[in-house]
C-alpha cells in the first residue's frame, strides 16, 4: 500500500468509530413523534423535481417529497420503494416492475403504472441528466395493468445496472400534473413538487427557506416521525457552521461546511461529523490531461506527473481522516465493482519522475524549467483549490512550471469541455454506484464537444472503447464486474485521467437526530424513519 501506516491507522479507526457509535447510542430509545428538523441548503437550484435533475441539491429537498421505484438499503443493495418486485427477461431486453398498491399522490390521486410510463418516457429519457444516457435504448413502457410497468429496451439492459441507477435516476412524477400542461421544464409544479413521499411541500421562499410537512397518508405505517422539515438557505459556509452552533440548523449535508469547521464540530459532543451515510456519493479527485499538448500526449510525462505528487502527504496534512488514496476510476466503496487488481498505482518518487521526463526529451532549461502548463482547478470545493496549489508546488520541484487559472463553475465547464483551453484540469469525478452511469463517459471516445464530465482530452483508445461497450450490455453480473476490472487496469496504465484521491462527502448533524445516516445515500433519502430526541 502507498498509504503511510499512521494515516492508515487513523482512517480505519475513524471508520470503525463511525460505524459503531450510532448503534451503541440508539439501541434503547423509543422514537419520538414530532419536531422540526432544519437542514443547511447551500446552493439553490432552478427547480426541485428529481425526475428532471439528478443532483444532490435537488435530492436533498425533492427526495423527501417524491419517491423512486428503487432505493439502496443499509448494505447498498437495491430495495423496493414504489416498486415491490422486478424481473428481467433472459435476453435483458424486457424488465418488469410490479408496483406498490394503494399509494396516493399528495393531492389524493392514485399512483399507477401510467405515472411510471409517462415519467420514464417524457422525463428520464428526454430531460433527466444521466437518465437520457441510461435510457437511450428504452423504446416503450407498457402498462398491462395499473400496478405493472414493463420496460422494453432495444439492446440488453443489465438488471444490476438499472437497479443501481434507479435510486438516483428513478424518481416518479405525477402524470396528471404534467401531461398536456405545456413545457415540462416550465411547469410550476417543478418548484412546488407533488409526490408520494413522507413529506408534503408547503412553501419555497427563494433565498430564504423551503418548508415541507408530514404526509398523514404516507403508505409506510407510523411514518414519518417529524412534523416538518425546514431547509435554510445559507450560502456562506462559515455562517452555516455558526448557525449549527447556535442551534438554528440540525444538519449540513454533502460537505457543506469548511474542512476546519467540520474538524472543530467533530470534537463537539453536540454534533456528529462523519462520512457515514454518504457511501453512495463517493467521488475521486482527478487530474485531467489535455492530449493536444505534445508534452502531455507522451505517456512518460503523464506518469512522471503522477510520480511527482506525494499524495499521502497531501491527504494527511490537508484533508485529514476524511479522504484516502484513490486507486482508480471505481472507488473502493463500490463493493459490487471494485476490482481486486487496479493496475499501476504511481507511488511518490521524484527521482523516477525526473528520469521519465528526461527520457521523454524534456530536459530542464537554464532556469531549471522543462516546460510550462496551465492548470484549471474546478470551483466545486476547497480541497480542489488546495490540491491545485499542491500540484503547482510539487511539479515545480521536477521542473514543470504551473500557472493556475481560477474560474467559476460555468467558466470551468466551458473552458475545459467546450473550448479545450486547458493543459491540466483538476476537479471531482462523481461515482454513481455503477460505472456505466457517469464513469465510463470520461474514457469512451466520440463524446460530443461541450458535454461536461466526458472524454474531451483528445484521447482515443479502441481497447477501452470495446471494454466499455461490452460491459454496458453484458447481462451477466460476474462477467460485467470482470470487464470493469479490465477497464480500471487499462485506465490506470494509459492514464488519460489520474484519480489519486478518494473522498466521501461529510455529514455534520446534531447528536439529537436518530436513525440518520443509515443508508448509503442518506442525504438524498426520504427520511421516513428520521426522528429527533428531546
Amino acid at each position: 500500500m502507498d498509504m503511510t501506516r499512521r494515516a492508515a491507522l487513523k482512517t480505519s479507526a475513524a471508520i470503525a468509530s463511525s460505524v459503531l457509535f450510532p448503534m451503541r447510542s440508539f439501541a434503547q430509545e423509543t422514537p419520538r413523534k414530532g419536531g422540526v428538523f432544519t437542514v443547511h441548503y447551500g446552493a439553490e437550484q432552478r427547480q426541485l423535481n428529481p425526475s428532471l435533475q439528478a443532483s444532490t441539491g435537488v435530492y436533498i429537498i425533492g427526495g423527501k417529497i417524491q419517491e423512486q421505484l428503487v432505493d439502496l438499503d443499509a448494505k447498498g443493495q437495491p430495495v423496493g420503494v414504489l416498486a415491490e418486485s422486478w424481473e428481467s427477461s433472459a435476453d435483458g431486453k424486457t424488465i418488469t416492475f410490479k408496483l406498490r398498491p394503494s399509494v396516493t399522490w399528495h393531492d389524493g390521486k392514485p399512483f399507477t403504472s401510467a405515472d411510471v410510463q409517462y415519467t420514464a418516457m417524457e422525463m428520464w429519457k428526454k430531460i433527466l441528466n444521466y437518465g437520457s444516457t441510461l435510457q437511450l435504448f428504452l423504446t416503450a413502457v407498457d402498462t398491462p395493468d395499473p400496478l405493472t410497468a414493463v420496460f422494453r429496451y432495444e439492446r440488453p439492459m443489465p438488471l444490476n445496472l438499472l437497479l443501481r441507477a434507479l435510486p438516483d435516476l428513478g424518481y416518479v412524477s405525477p402524470r396528471h400534473l404534467y401531461e398536456g400542461k405545456g413545457d415540462i421544464r416550465q411547469n410550476p409544479v417543478n418548484l412546488a413538487p407533488v409526490g408520494t413521499g413522507p413529506f408534503k411541500f408547503v412553501q419555497y421562499e427563494r433565498g430564504q427557506h423551503v418548508i415541507a410537512e408530514r404526509n398523514p397518508n404516507y403508505w409506510r405505517a407510523n411514518a414519518p416521525y417529524l412534523d416538518r422539515i425546514v431547509w435554510r438557505v445559507v450560502t456562506d459556509r462559515a455562517a452555516a457552521a455558526a448557525q449549527m452552533e447556535a442551534g438554528q440548523i440540525h444538519y449540513s449535508p454533502f460537505s457543506g461546511l469548511t474542512i476546519s469547521d467540520s474538524a472543530r464540530l467533530g470534537k463537539d459532543p453536540r454534533f456528529i461529523v462523519s462520512t457515514k451515510g454518504n457511501e453512495g456519493n463517493a467521488r475521486t479527485n482527478t487530474i485531467e490531461f489535455n492530449f493536444r499538448r505534445k508534452e502531455l500526449a507522451d505517456i512518460r510525462v503523464r506518469r512522471a506527473i503522477a510520480h511527482a505528487l506525494d499524495i499521502p502527504f497531501f491527504i494527511e496534512n490537508f484533508l485529514g481522516d476524511f479522504a484516502k488514496r484513490g486507486t482508480g476510476p471505481i472507488p473502493s466503496v463500490s463493493t459490487d465493482f471494485y476490482p481486486a487488481d487496479n493496475g499501476p498505482q504511481y507511488p511518490f518518487d521524484k527521482k523516477l519522475a525526473a528520469k521519465l521526463l528526461d527520457e521523454a526529451g524534456f530536459k530542464p532549461g537554464a532556469s531549471g524549467t522543462r516546460f510550462s502548463l496551465r492548470l484549471l482547478p474546478a470551483p466545486w470545493g476547497e480541497d480542489i483549490s488546495l490540491f491545485a496549489t499542491f500540484i503547482q508546488q510539487s511539479l515545480a520541484d521536477v521542473g514543470i512550471k504551473i500557472e493556475i487559472v481560477r474560474t467559476d463553475g460555468g467558466g470551468f465547464l466551458k473552458q475545459v469541455y467546450d473550448d479545450h483551453a486547458f493543459d491540466l484540469a483538476t476537479g471531482w469525478h462523481q461515482y454513481r454506484n455503477d460505472p456505466a452511469v457517469s464513469t465510463t463517459v470520461w474514457y469512451r471516445s466520440g463524446q460530443p464537444k461541450g458535454a461536461p464530465w466526458t472524454n474531451q482530452w483528445d484521447w482515443t483508445d479502441p481497447t477501452i472503447d470495446k471494454i466499455i461497450d461490452d460491459a454496458a450490455t453484458e447481462v451477466d453480473a460476474a462477467k460485467r464486474k470482470a470487464l470493469y476490472g479490465d477497464f480500471v487496469r487499462r485506465a490506470n496504465s494509459e492514464l488519460p485521467i489520474w484519480t489519486p484521491i478518494e473522498q466521501i462527502f461529510l455529514t455534520a448533524i446534531s447528536a439529537k437526530a436518530r436513525n440518520h445516516s443509515n443508508t448509503p445515500r442518506w442525504g438524498s433519502a426520504s427520511w421516513h424513519d428520521l426522528w429527533l430526541a428531546e
Binding site: Q208, R232, A239, Q243, Q430
Partner: protein, 325 residues
C-alpha cells in the same frame, strides 16, 4: 413646478446613461466564459450535448449576441425586464421579492450610520485632540479597518452562540409562524446584527467626514461673529456650524445609497438575508443576464432618484445653492 421641470430634465439626461450602462454590462458578461446553460450543467453535475442544445434554445442563447442585445433593449423600452433563467419567474417579480429585505437593511444601517456618525463627529470636533476625540477617532478607525465578514462572524459568535441573545441568521423565524406585531419584532431582532455590521463600517466614514467638516466650519468668520454676538456655544454649533457642516455628509449619503444597495453581498451571505446583493452575485455566477441587467436597471433608477433628492436637500440646507435655472 420648478421641481417638476428639474425632475424631467434630470430624467431625460439619465436615459442615455442608463442605456450605456446596460449595454456595457451586457457586453462585459459576454466576455466571461460560459453561459447560463454551462452554469446549470455545473449545478446539475452533468448532462449530455443534446440536452444542452435544447436548453440553449429554451433560454434563447442560440441567437447571436447582437440579436440577444437587440431583443433585450426592445423589451426594456416596453418596460419588460424579461424572464429570469434561474428563478423561472419574471425578473420584475424576483427583484420585487428581494427589495423589502434590502431596503429594510439599507435604511436601518444608513440611518444608524448617519445619526451616530453625526453625533460622534460633532462630539469629536468639539473636543478636538482631547480624550473624547482620541477615543472616537480610534474606534472609528477600528470599525473602518475591520473586514465586514469577520466583524459579522464575530458578532454571531458572541451574541448568538455564547450569549444566545440574537439569532445567528435569516430574515425571520421560520420554525414558528408569527403574525402582526410579534412578526415585526421577530424581523427586527434578526436585523440587529446585520444592521450593526453594515452600519458601523459606514458610521466610521461619516464620523470622520463630520469631524473634519465641523472643524473647518468652526474656524470660519461667521462663527466668530456669532460667538462675539454673545450667542451660547450650543446654539452656535447647532444653528450655524452644523447646518453648514452637513453638506459633505449629504453628498456622501447620496453617493452611498447606490453602492449600499448592491454592496452588501458579504453581510447578506454571512447573515443569510434574502437581499439584492446576493441575488446579483448569484446572477453573475449563474450567468443569468436578464436578472443581472434588471438589478442594474433598478439600482440605476434608485441612484438617479436619490441624487435628485440630494440636489433638493442642498438647496434647503444652503440657499446659496439654487436648483439651477
Amino acid at each position: 413646478m420648478r421641481v417638476l421641470v428639474l425632475a424631467g430634465r434630470r430624467l431625460a439626461a439619465s436615459i442615455p446613461t442608463l442605456f450605456l450602462i446596460l449595454i456595457g454590462v451586457f457586453l462585459l458578461l459576454q466576455l466571461a466564459p460560459g453561459d447560463t446553460v454551462d452554469a446549470l450543467m455545473a449545478q446539475m453535475g452533468g448532462g449530455d450535448a443534446a440536452t444542452a442544445r435544447q436548453l440553449r434554445e429554451f433560454y434563447g442563447l442560440d441567437l447571436s449576441v447582437w440579436a440577444q442585445l437587440g431583443n433585450y433593449l426592445w423589451r426594456l423600452v416596453r418596460l419588460d425586464l424579461g424572464f429570469s433563467a434561474i428563478y423561472g419567474k419574471p425578473v420584475a417579480t424576483v427583484i420585487a421579492e428581494r427589495l423589502p429585505a434590502t431596503i429594510l437593511l439599507m435604511t436601518a444601517s444608513l440611518s444608524l450610520a448617519f445619526f451616530f456618525g453625526l453625533i460622534l463627529g460633532v462630539v469629536a470636533a468639539r473636543g478636538v485632540n482631547k480624550w473624547p476625540d482620541t477615543l472616537i477617532s480610534t474606534l472609528g478607525l477600528m470599525f473602518y479597518a475591520m473586514p465586514t465578514f469577520w466583524f459579522g462572524l464575530m458578532a454571531i459568535v458572541v451574541f448568538s452562540i455564547y450569549l444566545q441573545w440574537l439569532p445567528a441568521g435569516g430574515f425571520e423565524d421560520i420554525t414558528v409562524s408569527y403574525t402582526g406585531l410579534r412578526r415585526t419584532l421577530d424581523i427586527a431582532t434578526h436585523l440587529v446584527l446585520p444592521t450593526l455590521t453594515l452600519g458601523l463600517f459606514y458610521m466610521a466614514i461619516y464620523l470622520r467626514i463630520m469631524r473634519g467638516s465641523m472643524l473647518e466650519v468652526l474656524n470660519l468668520d461667521f462663527v466668530r461673529t456669532a460667538r462675539s454676538k454673545g450667542m451660547d456655544e450650543t446654539r452656535v454649533v447647532v444653528r450655524h456650524v452644523l447646518r453648514n457642516a452637513l453638506l459633505p455628509m449629504v453628498t456622501l449619503i447620496g453617493l452611498q445609497a447606490g453602492t449600499m444597495l448592491g454592496g452588501s453581498v458579504v453581510v447578506e451571505s454571512v447573515f443569510s438575508l434574502p437581499g439584492l446583493g446576493r441575488l446579483a452575485y448569484e446572477s453573475v455566477i449563474q450567468r443569468d443576464l436578464n436578472t443581472l441587467l434588471g438589478i442594474v436597471f433598478v439600482s440605476a433608477l434608485l441612484v438617479i432618484a436619490v441624487n435628485f433628492i440630494v440636489d433638493l436637500l442642498y438647496a434647503r440646507l444652503d440657499p446659496r445653492i439654487t436648483t439651477g435655472s
